[in-house]
Structure formats: C-alpha cells, structure tokens
C-alpha cells in the first residue's frame, strides 16, 4: 500500500515515442484506470510501473523511493495480464502459490493462503486442475488469485477481463471493485473499455497518442472533458461534435450552425463572449438531444441518417449537411432514413471547444 507517481516519464522505441512526458500522482489505496484506445501508451505505462519495460527518462516513484532501476521482483507488485499468463505446466494451486514460493514462505502458510484466496474467488474445487482444463472466467480468477494471494504494495491490471463474455465481464467488474475496496491496495487498471473505467475507477487517466489527456474522477471526465478528444472518447453512445461560429454582439450572442441560429442561455453566453473565440466545436451528448418529426420552435431541420434500436430507446443519427448528430429518441420515433426531422437541444447541455486546438472553452 503505497502512493505511486510518474514524474516526467518518457518512453521511446527508437523513432517512435510511446509515452510522452507523463506526470501522474496516484494516491495510496486509490483505484486508477488508464483509459485509451489501443496503442495509446497505457499498457506501456503499466509495464514501466511493473519494471518489465525500461523508462527512457524521468522517474517512477513508489512512496518516496525511486524504483527506476529495480527489477520487477523487488518492486513488490502483483500483475494480472491480459491473456492471464498462467503456467500451463503447473496446477491451479501451484499457479496461485507461485509468488509465495518465490518469496520462500513456509508450505503450511502457502497452503492456508492459497486456499483462502481460492475460496474467495470460488475456484477452490479446481486447485488440482491445470490451466488448459479451465474456462476463460476460471482462468481469469486464477490469475487474480495469483495476484491477491500475496499482499503487494500495488496491483497492476492489464485489461484483465477483456476476453470474457459480456455477462461475466459485468459480474467481474463489480467483484473486482468490491475486492479492491476491501483490500485497500493501490490499483492501476488498464482498459480500452470506457464502461469499465467509469464504473470501477476512483480516478481515470485518459491517454491518447502517448499523451495523458486528462486525469480526474469519472464524473469530472464525463461532465468536464478538457478537450474534444476526451469528450468524444468517453461516453456511450458517443458525443456528437458540430462546427459552429459566434454571431451577435455582447448581450445577445448566439451560435450560427450552418445558418441555424442557436440562442444561448446566460451562463453559456457570458462564457463564450469572455473567451472571444470565433470558431467553435460544439458537443452534445445523445441523451441531451431530442429529435422529432414535427417542427418545434428553435429546432434545426435535419434528415434521418440511421435509426438503431437500443432496447429501451432508439438512437437516431441525423444529418445536417455533412455533420451528423446522434440523439436518443423514444421507441415511438418512426422516422425512416432520408425523412426530414427536427433536432433540438438546449444550450445548457452543450460542450464548447475551440475549433482550432480542440481545447475546452474556459468557464
């Protein structure tokens, strides 16, 4: 149980930079999720924490100790790998016992602790089997058993439940979260699945292209994304972005969206006039936009592009020129592809980004 920090950490492989100037302070006992698309440097960051990858420059600190030069065995960490990395020639018992055996703990203590971990994970009836005889979920729990059997300072998870089926994944999410809460060990969890990050993490570090984009609580990330990339990456269904420009004088400022004038509420108006940015990227989350076949005051004329049933509601994608906007509608929405429709949203629910660099417009 220890705080973990990245201080100006860089990692490059010859010409290509995998991680660029990473700075992050993870508190003792915190559950942090590294979220990003594949190849964004999140796994590399985790492997640098584990000591499986050398860092090009900067320092990684556990507590108050710089661990740059420490081999994995001296870092007191436990890691769960994406493909579990179980030892096929060992029984499940020996797989889970491996870290204890490496630490030269007495056999009776090993038996006790392995049985305890196995019982917790409900794999105690499988201890005599070998990994190849187990299902994906059982393998995954064995891999977690190997991590929790020893009380390490830090848990590292590298997409541990990515290969499970959807139902099992949902169950493992809550079990992992529960277990981490009980053990109180600092945990760093790599995932490309934003749902995993949003549901489990105390704080999320969103990465793209080797750069840390934003580090904050799931709510902060969802409600106040720092740039348009984070805004569109987090949230399902995805946020839509629209190119708009400012019109009107101070006091009655409004947005021009391909000739449609969108009036602003007081807060947005003062925020945008203060920033004084002419070209904006305006985001709207599908559940804050509505679409109907009848014209309503202030609505934007659009055309139905596609209609997807989500179960409880319908995701409608509408086209306004070349821009597409997703909106959630009631299942009673019956617009066909190509049919005219009317898009409506309120300016309080919009996200404003600078069209030039994608950064959020300051409040």
């Amino acid at each position: 149980m220890v705080a973990v920090s990245f201080n100006n950490v860089w990692k490059d492989y010859g010409d290509s930079v995998a991680v660029r100037d990473l700075n992050m302070n993870i508190k003792d006992g915190e559950f942090v999720s590294l979220l990003g698309p594949s190849g964004c440097g999140k796994s590399t960051s985790l492997r640098m924490l584990a000591g499986l990858e050398h860092i090009t420059s900067g320092e990684i600190v556990f507590g108050d100790k710089v661990v740059n030069q420490l081999p994995p065995k001296d870092r007191d960490i436990a890691m769960v790998f994406e493909n579990y990395a179980l030892y096929p020639h060992k029984t499940i018992f020996d797989n889970i016992a491996n870290p204890l055996k490496r630490a030269k703990i007495s056999p009776s203590e090993i038996t006790r602790r392995v049985n305890e971990a196995a019982k917790l994970l409900e794999i105690d009836h499988l201890l005599e089997r070998r990994p190849q005889e187990l299902s994906g979920g059982q393998k995954q729990r064995t891999a977690i058993g190997r991590a929790i059997v020893r009380q390490p300072q830090v848990y590292l998870f590298d997409e541990p439940i990515a290969h499970l089926d959807a139902k099992l994944r949902a169950r493992m999410r809550s079990e992992l979260k529960h277990m981490q809460f009980n053990l109180g060990v600092t945990t760093i969890y790599v995932t490309h699945d934003q749902l995993e990050a949003l549901t489990m993490a105390d704080r999320i570090a969103v990465m793209n292209d080797g750069v840390l984009q934003q580090f904050g609580t799931p709510q902060e990330i969802y409600e106040n994304p720092v740039n348009s990339w984070v805004a569109t990456f987090v949230g399902e269904p995805q946020m839509s972005l629209m190119e708009m420009s400012m019109t009107g004088e101070k006091g009655d400022a409004a947005l021009d969206f391909f000739g449609n004038i969108i009036s602003l509420d007081a807060a947005s108006s003062s925020r945008l006039t203060k920033a004084g940015i002419a070209d904006l990227l305006v985001g709207v989350r599908p559940d804050k936009a509505s679409v109907s076949l009848q014209e309503t005051p202030g609505a934007i004329k659009a055309e139905v592009y596609s209609r997807q049933l989500l179960g409880a509601d319908v995701l409608v994608e509408v086209a306004i020129g070349k821009t597409r906007v997703r909106a959630k509608a009631d299942t009673s929405f019956m617009g066909n592809v190509g049919e005219p429709c009317y898009l409506n949203f309120s300016s309080e629910n919009l996200y404003y980004f600078n069209a030039e660099d994608g950064k959020v417009v300051e409040r």
């Binding site: 081999p71 890691m79 990395a85 020639h89 020996d94 490496r102 630490a103 703990i105």
Partner: protein
C-alpha cells in the same frame, strides 16, 4: 411430385442410377470405390520399396535368429531359442550391454547439459546466427570422417588433443585410445563434439517458443533469471528436449562407425559396445544366427526405452515434476 416415390425425391437425381448418384453427392473425403485402387496404385511403388528394404530383411532377421545360418551348400539348421539362450552366458554380450549403457548415459548427460547451456547463452545473443552456423558444422561431417579426424587428434606422437591432455596432466605417455581405462571417454568425446549442436539447435527452437508473458508473470511474482529458467523455460522446452534425447539415444544404440575407425573395440574389449560386438559376431566370425539374436535384443530394448520416453513425453503430470515444483 409424390413424396413416396423414390425415383422422384430429388429432380436432379431422377434420370440417374439412384445408388451411384448418392455416392457422388457425398463429400470427397469418403472415397468412392472406383478411386480407391487408383490411390493404391499411386502409393504402391513406395510401399513395395519400403517392404523390400525394411520389412523383408526384418522377417529375414527373425528367421535367422532361430537358425544356425549356413553358407553356400550348407543349409540352415533350425535351433529354436538356442541363439538367444546362449547370449545369457556370453560374457562379451553382457559386457557389451554394460558398455553401451554407460556410453549412452555419459554421452546424453554431457550433451544435454552442455547443449542446453549453450542454447541459453546463444538465445537472443548478438552472435546467435553466425555461431549456430558454426556449431552445425560437426553434424555435417560423416561419422567415419569424424572418427578419422579424432584418430589424428588423439595420436600419441603428433595428436593435438593428446598434447593438450598430456599438458593438463590428464594423460600419461599412452594415447587416450591406447589405454583401456580412457579409450571409452575418447570415443564419448567424438560423439559429444559431433552431436551436442543438435541438442543446442532443438533447445534453441524450444526457447524461442517460451511465452514471454509467462516469463514476465514469473518475474512479477518475484523470480530472478535462474528461477525463470527452471520454472518457466525448462518446462516449456521439456518436450523439445525429450525428442532430442530420444533421437540421440536411438542413434547411440546403433553407433559403430567412429569406433571401428578409432579402436575397433579395443584395447582389450574396453570399447566393444554391443553394436561393435554384433558387427564382430556377424561379419568377422560369420555367426549370422547369433548376430541376429543380438540385433533383436538391441531392437527390443530400443523399442521399450523409446516407448517409455514417448509415454513420459505425453504425460503432462511428469512435466511439472521435471520443473522442480516441489521446491517450497
């Protein structure tokens, strides 16, 4: 179309003979009868050749082992199991087995230890490719040529190895092959020189396939590189290693060329391994019946040992035993 009428079940079949059409509808993996013989004719030359060079002599060998084989006008005499029973009182036969087992055991032990060590050092080294090419050269040399090469290297007057051994104080005046207590080791060295690279090569292929994530998981579990080798690499290369051992041990059991060149079985009987004795009995004394009995004893032991090795190879439970999992 009436369903009951067999002829009209499928319109495509209506004007064809019912039975034949069914066959042509089945997947090609089920051989239609007319084609079966065609495949047999294709394979026949190979089968006949194989029968001529292995199966026929094999039965001839069994026939010989029950007879006192005569030459020219003298006809074969059936002697029952006498050829076999006499072997148990044959001191040279028993000594030959002892020498063969000792020779094989020492050869395999050295080859496996050195071969695996070399493979571990070579794996991912900068010089892996040029060095492995160099190591392969001994394997390409014919055993007789290897024997001749070492014959000169061991020579008591100008042999280079002889000089080295003498300088190190291992040998006295007599050459390594001239002394009945060292001759066997001289022959072992030839085999080690020639065949250790094979073990290295096979082990290296195995090491390339050790999953990186298992090595990494073990490192995170607190292991160093030595533990990584014994707990992860070795169990993973174990099947490869066993195949290498199987190949080498079967080869050792019919090893004769270099011995004939180097010592011919001497001095005394100190290098008269069973295959050499078999050669002597059959082709020096022309007792082909007894020779056949010795050959069959060799064959049976080779098959049994081979089967044991294969059994071990297939049994996953043994893998972890070898991995030294009981090290807590």
């Amino acid at each position: 179309m009436t369903i009951g009428s067999e002829k009209n079940i499928h319109p495509a079949l209506s004007d064809q003979d019912w039975g034949y059409a069914t066959i042509s509808q089945t997947p090609t993996s089920v051989n239609p009868n007319p084609k079966k013989w065609f495949y047999f004719y294709l394979a026949a030359p190979a089968i006949i050749l194989l029968a001529a060079i292995t199966i026929y002599p094999f039965f001839w060998l069994i026939y010989m082992s029950f007879h006192k084989v005569g030459f020219g006008a003298v006809s074969d005499v059936f002697v029952g199991l006498k050829n076999f029973s006499r072997l148990f009182s044959d001191a040279k036969f028993i000594a030959g087995w002892g020498l063969l087992l000792k020779y094989s055991a020492i050869c395999l032990t050295i080859q496996v230890l050195v071969g695996v060590a070399l493979a571990v050092v070579l794996n991912n080294s900068r010089y892996e490719k040029p060095l492995i090419t160099m190591f392969l050269m001994p394997m390409m040399v014919s055993p007789v040529v290897a024997g001749l090469l070492f014959y000169y290297l061991y020579n008591g007057t100008f042999g280079w190895y002889h000089w080295i051994f003498q300088s190190l104080g291992i040998l006295g005046e007599t050459s390594i092959l001239g002394n009945s207590s060292t001759a066997l080791y001289g022959i072992i060295l030839v085999d080690v020189w020639q065949w250790t690279p094979l073990i290295t090569l096979i082990t290296l292929a195995g090491l390339k396939r050790v999953p990186q994530d298992q090595l990494e998981a073990n490192m995170v579990d607190g292991a160093g590189s030595i533990s990584n080798f014994f707990h992860i690499s070795l169990p993973n290369i174990y099947p490869f290693l066993l195949i290498a051992i199987l190949l080498r041990f079967m080869d050792n059991f019919r090893f004769i060329d270099a011995i004939l060149v180097l010592t011919g079985g001497g001095p005394g009987n100190s290098t008269r391994l069973l295959p050499v004795y078999l050669f002597d009995v059959s082709f020096q004394f022309f007792k082909l019946g007894r020779g056949a009995a010795i050959a069959i004893s060799l064959l049976i032991v080779t098959i049994i040992l081979g089967m044991i090795l294969v059994r071990v190879l297939e049994d996953p439970a043994r893998k972890s035993t070898l991995a030294g999992d009981s090290d807590s």
